[in-house]
Symmetry: C2
Subunit: 481 residues, 2 copies
């Protein structure tokens, strides 16, 4: 799917709409519902692991935000900065009131570590207050120069988890816990395949000791970061002076993590699962699960009556079962047009009811992902049968995408071939043995435009693709979207 | 409850925490959960009435925001204005990069009518696209000079519904529908009594044809607006050119409404339901419904074992039933201290289990709202018994508050007495016949500091409290919080 088609699909399926300001979008009802489903699923998982939601201010004073020097490095070039609070009306024009200049600039949060740990430094006293396991669903702004709808919005909605722990072991255990949550969530609900590993020092969130990342391939050969988990160790707590008294009465710094996903995932879902007919949504996050389309010609009232009765029966079977069914009984539109419309919107199942179906006392069910057809009777078994189809769709979408990712992933041990492949845009990921070195990393980037998406430590050793030196690390290389 | 105690209670019960910037607060886990409960309840009601959630950008370009002149009037003095996008580092200091000045100022939304109708003007074509029934859960900023935690925050989270209709009848029907939703919601879930009516032209949202309001009394004699519904008729659609083609092919303007509630409701709940022991939360919005406190002295292990078994039984009875139970088994804290703590947090029910209870095979249940005690056996009937108590608490809280509001509401027909009552701060609402007139309205405000909270049309006529003229309107007067 090229970029033009990607944007067209988003507009046509009514997922989003562009706003007047570059990088800002409107999430329409259909698109926002996808996000709400993503949010509810992940939120329920995080409740079970005792993470609790909070809300920190949208605006962060400059002096607090930049206490951490790494924050300066990460964000000083892409902030939305509030400087004034009033307008005046002059010659019938509304202009900035220079007298309303704020004493200090306020930054719209691009991330919340600073304000969170600054605040907790005043709240935490003893080991009894730990661990801190909080999460925030919020909107953030990063005024990036390159925009790409969902993938690189200037404003996006995200989930940002922040945790604080007594010691290293507990902190690392938290990282492992979140890693497993994200793995299951991205695979089982979004049907997206991925590779995981550590970011290099060049690519990690600066301030983090390490960043663990989830990477996938979109549009055949570009790479996308789906989620990240940052291990800060005591970096933030030292900067923001977040201390606690341990059991022995000693004052210690806490150990921190942060981790997040965002509306970018909607972009990934669209790019990975769509086909030439439009979107394909995994049932677990689809706003509408089943579209019922009646096949009626010549406004046959008797037939309409019979179909309505069957639709009523179906709706009764699915009543209160969290399956969203839509019945499109608009008699002014042709069935074919309806097929086209709902295929484009990616609704997982289509139920067709017409003369033939009524005669045979069945319904025709068509899967969106592979157009496979099922003919079922309408009885209470229908619910379980459809749940089974949903499961099959989830599995099929994941494995189809995984196969595609695999076919675009190559293992290479020759740097010439490596360079050539990236030049010809014939690959997504290239996996190669690599000896970690910030200079060779930059040289490879210069040669190929590809970066190290992540690093994985191996038991077996091999030769670095660039230097030939012995190493037990492999790197996944790829080009950023 | 005076202001000092109100703030103390919010901090102590861990509902919220002040941020560094005036008017911005941190909603802690306990406070945010109250908001999430409010949100989920109202959201589920709005789903049933087919209102769908959307997300519009946080930032609105000045030129779009101020297309509507009423918006200028309402908001030009309290905007958070984004003017720059970058910092530079000079002499080790982070300062605003003057080169990053934006071409046009961006305003953090204080409300979203402008961006919503500006956008819909490009989307809506035919009567088939109507009605538009959308809702947004978002954060907004209004930099008010006077701040009061929850009541007048500079940033607050709100629900803002926006609807567009074909004609006046449908638009008015929408207003009636939302009125009924808010009435039931505020009464049945939040247990808050109120008076409803129309705002005067001076007090309404400018741009609205009329504003319907829900008003209550807090702290004995101050008034608070709980929710508002605005009827815009064609005002916004004319300004933002939102047109549709009707069935006959004619081009028409749409009819609009907007309506909202916000985190301010948390402030109202706290002020209205608290007593000298702290918060009292209505069970329907309480983050924790039941606190179980074991009565153990001398670390009696046998007793602890028996109590744990009973707690397990209770938790089993309530498993998956949406009743949140907390068991505070900290053996280092005295039961008395725990009583004190959870009373302060307003948890609706306390269950006590000690030697006596185990001997008699019962548990003691204490209501937070009136400290009434119940002694129940532990069996499957317990669930329904506790649901009944919750219902009783909801009803009791509402009627207690209603009685208080009534006792602070006076019907007066003499202006001297009227003035005196407000002077002596001996009343909340004063109800009086009143002939609508913007000059007398301002004069009364000058005399008493009280404003017209709302107007109600009556069948019976009476004499205006200020002018003595015949009128069929009564006004509810009161002082703003």
């Amino acid at each position: 799917m090229n970029n033009k088609n990607y944007i067209k699909l988003i507009i046509k399926s009514k997922i989003a709409f562009f706003s007047e300001i570059k990088g800002f979008i409107i999430l329409r009802t259909y698109g926002y519902k996808i996000w709400e489903n993503i949010k509810n699923i992940l939120n329920n998982i995080l409740i079970k692991t005792k993470h609790k939601n909070v809300y920190f201010p949208l605006l962060i004073p400059k002096k607090i935000f930049f206490i951490d020097k790494n924050h300066i490095k990460n964000f000083y070039k892409e902030c939305a900065i509030v400087t004034h609070s009033k307008f005046i009306i002059k010659n019938n024009k509304v202009i900035l009131d220079p007298k309303s200049k704020l004493e200090e600039e306020l930054i719209i949060r691009p991330t919340s570590e600073s304000i969170i740990w600054y605040t907790y430094s005043k709240i935490i006293q003893s080991y009894r207050n730990l661990p801190i396991l909080i999460n925030q669903w919020s909107n953030i702004i990063r005024l990036e120069i390159r925009n790409k709808i969902f993938i690189r919005n200037s404003e996006f909605i995200l989930q940002e988890g922040h945790t604080g722990h007594k010691n290293k072991i507990e902190c690392i255990n938290e990282i492992i816990k979140i890693k497993n949550i994200y793995k299951k969530f991205i695979k089982n609900y979004l049907c997206i395949p991925f590779i995981t590993g550590f970011k290099t020092n060049n690519e990690k969130f600066s301030g983090a000791k390490f960043t663990f990342t989830f990477e996938t391939i979109i549009n055949n050969y570009k790479c996308l970061q789906l989620a990240t988990i940052h291990y800060f160790a005591k970096n933030f707590s030292k900067v923001y002076k977040v201390k606690y008294t341990n059991k022995k009465g000693k004052i210690k710094y806490i150990w921190c993590t942060s981790w997040g996903i965002s509306t970018r995932l909607i972009g990934a879902i669209i790019m990975i699962h769509s086909d030439k007919n439009g979107l394909i949504l995994p049932p677990k996050i689809a706003p509408i699960h089943i579209i019922i389309i009646p096949i009626i010609y010549n406004n046959n009232k008797n037939l309409i009556y019979k179909i309505n009765k069957i639709v009523y029966k179906i709706k009764k079977i699915f009543y209160n079962k969290n399956i969203i069914i839509k019945y499109d009984n608009n008699i002014y539109k042709k069935p074919g047009n309806k097929f086209y419309k709902y295929e484009n919107k990616g609704i997982p199942l289509r139920i067709i009811i017409g003369k033939k179906e009524i005669k045979n006392n069945i319904i025709e069910i068509v899967r969106r992902d592979n157009f496979k057809k099922y003919y079922y009777k309408i009885n209470n078994k229908l619910y379980n049968k459809i749940l089974k189809i949903f499961k099959k769709i989830q599995i099929n979408l994941y494995y189809k995408a995984k196969k595609k990712m695999k076919s675009n992933t190559l293992i290479i041990n020759n740097y010439k071939i490596f360079k050539n492949l990236f030049k010809k845009k014939k690959c997504g990921f290239i996996i190669a043995y690599y000896k970690i070195n910030k200079y060779t990393e930059l040289k490879i980037k210069k040669d190929t435009n590809a970066t190290i998406r992540c690093l994985i430590k191996k038991k077996k050793i091999g030769k670095c693709i660039y230097t030939g030196k012995i190493t037990n690390y492999i790197a996944i290389f790829g080009k950023s979207y």
